[in-house]
């Protein structure tokens, strides 16, 4: 695309040049966004669109969607900086609350776990799960050490490039927060993951144990505090169950 920067309409053309009206095919609808399959300048990509939720007050809805797009972009960038792989970002449309990013080919950790459960005997399954858990824990630890909490750690939000458990790509950073992160927030982040695992995969205690193992190894000096808080958050959950 040739853009003459002296041309008055350059800016417009420039935008058009991004192929903004891209071909889009609905791919999935997750917890809060619609995902479309698309091609971006010849590269396989996805468009993540946060659409308006009518059950919310419109001002609140707008504020949240904008905030989450921003949080997601920042989180993805920050993660890259500290050596945690995330999809490449191609384009962000703040008006429409859309993010265009690299399409990671492979599967989610959720699918992978259920696949290896079928294909392996129990021991192999556990071993596989362990080594994957340790690696995942290391990644989470790195994020926390850099003062980023993901906010929605689940096995659907962990993608495996080419289905390879050694190639973890973290996605879905819309609920992440950065800076001034307390040990409590880190503990809650881990707790969210623990429960997500427990409610998605049966017989998978091993996985979260390994995650904690990897976490402890990599999480730097904050890790110990976070693990203590995790225990506290768990206890609170249990106590409250008693009073209904």
């Amino acid at each position: 695309m040739d853009v003459d920067m002296n041309d008055e309409t350059a800016e417009e053309k420039y935008e058009e040049g991004f192929g903004f009206e891209m071909d889009r095919k609905p791919m999935s609808q997750g917890a809060e966004a619609r995902i479309f399959k698309s091609m971006y300048l010849g590269k396989p990509s996805i468009i993540k669109q946060r659409f308006a939720k009518k059950y919310r007050h419109s001002t609140l809805d707008e504020r949240l969607n904008k905030h989450r797009v921003r949080a997601e972009v920042k989180g993805i960038m920050k993660a890259k900086q500290v050596g945690v792989e995330t999809p490449a970002l191609y384009f962000v449309d703040g008006e429409r609350n859309e993010i265009v990013m690299e399409r990671v080919e492979g599967c989610s950790a959720k699918e992978w776990i259920e696949k290896i459960r079928k294909e392996n005997d129990e021991k192999e399954f556990k071993d596989n799960l362990s080594s994957f858990g340790i690696l995942l824990g290391t990644k989470v630890g790195k994020l926390h050490a850099a003062s980023v909490v993901h906010g929605d750690l689940t096995t659907s939000n962990v993608l495996l490039r080419d289905g390879n458990p050694q190639q973890i790509v973290l996605i879905d950073f819309g609920l992440c927060s950065q800076m001034k992160i307390t040990a409590e927030e880190k503990g809650v982040d881990l707790y969210v993951l623990e429960r997500a695992i427990a409610s998605t995969h049966h017989d998978s205690e091993q996985l979260f144990k390994s995650v904690l193992e990897g976490y402890e190894k990599s999480g730097g000096k904050g890790a110990k505090g976070a693990l203590e808080k995790l225990e506290e958050v768990r206890m609170r959950g249990r106590k409250r169950d008693m009073i209904g």
Binding site: K25, P26, Q29, K54, H57, A198
Partner: protein
């Protein structure tokens, strides 16, 4: 199958199934502000549905609302119920309701006393109304609420159930309080695999059945939001704080930017509370926001958070229509 169900209703619950939103909470009046808000929200939500029969959803929501409205009292109340069921049909279900004094919560001992006074009458009435002549032979089992809840009133149910089971030589079945509410909802609505948002005074949970168990998917990390909020704004707690917040909220219009904390499927109100505690009085003095605005904002924010975690749970369990290649594209 016939079974006796003695259940102590304490709070309210809502049930949501495959985007068919139903609301049943009006029978029990504890957080009424939440109830009305939910109703309005559900109607709003139902209008937006694309994959479900809209009219059906709206009609059900209205019906539930109408049915519940008659029973709405202004005071927090708690009822003791005895019911007899056969094959999912309720044969009889008499209840006795205990009202807390205005402005006060329940005292376990008084509530228990009330239950003790009523229970024999209720059991007899339940048997009579159901047309059962020989309970030993006609009943298959006895179920009761085993908790969680207030200890003393729960004991009344447990003792009665145990006595009856010994007397008639029938199996005894303790039912978890939450599960009881959920099962009741499933029965009434015919939903087979619901994601449930369980709102109660002390705690809020998103629950669904998965891998042979009801599991908690998300919950409040810090609860008891309404009471503390009302205290900061110095609202009266007569008849109870939630009611007054609701009344004030009706007159509010400006939306205050309150912290919105959703983590996974958990929510936390601590941010809202400390935020309000720090700024509320200053705002009100300077006239930036009125107390009404603050109540309005609280309702909108908390409501959105509740619906959002429910929605997240639906996406998580797959009850939500995931990957609808044509369903979700409106472009």
């Amino acid at each position: 199958m016939v079974e006796v169900i003695a259940k102590i209703k304490i709070f309210q619950w809502e049930l949501i199934h495959n985007m068919r939103w139903l609301y049943q909470g009006f029978r029990m009046s504890v957080p009424k502000s939440a109830a009305l808000q939910l109703y309005r929200g559900l109607v709003r939500y139902a209008r937006q549905l694309k994959l479900t029969d809209q009219d059906w959803a709206l009609r059900r929501i209205r019906e539930e609302f109408e049915a519940g409205r008659d029973a709405r009292g202004k005071r927090a109340r708690e009822s003791y119920e005895v019911g007899i069921m056969r094959d999912g049909v309720v044969l009889s279900n008499p209840r006795a309701t205990f009202h807390a004094p205005p402005g006060e919560g329940f005292r376990p001992s008084e509530t228990a006393q009330h239950h003790r006074q009523q229970v024999v009458k209720l059991v007899l009435r339940a048997i009579k109304e159901s047309g059962i002549k020989e309970p030993e032979k006609e009943l298959d089992g006895i179920a009761f609420t085993k908790g969680p809840g207030m200890g003393a009133p729960l004991q009344v149910g447990a003792i009665v159930a145990r006595t009856l089971s010994l007397q008639w030589n029938l199996p005894l079945l303790g039912v978890n309080h939450c599960v009881g509410h959920i099962e009741m909802g499933r029965l009434i609505t015919g939903a087979d695999n619901p994601v449930v948002l369980y709102v109660s005074g002390g705690n809020t949970q998103v629950i669904s059945y998965s891998m042979h168990k009801y599991r908690i998917f998300g919950e409040t990390i810090v609860g008891n939001c309404l009471d503390r909020f009302a205290r900061v704004l110095k609202l009266s707690n007569d008849p109870f704080p939630g009611y007054n917040i609701e009344q004030m909220a009706k007159k509010g219009s400006k939306l205050v930017d309150l912290p919105y904390t959703v983590k996974g499927m958990d929510i936390s109100f601590s941010g809202i509370l400390s935020f309000i505690e720090k700024r509320a009085n200053e705002w009100v003095e300077k006239g930036e926001f009125t107390r009404e605005d603050l109540c309005f904002s609280l309702q909108e924010t908390v409501f959105s958070m509740l619906v959002e975690i429910t929605e997240r749970a639906m996406a998580h369990t797959g009850n939500f229509v995931e990957t609808p290649a044509n369903g979700c594209s409106d472009e």
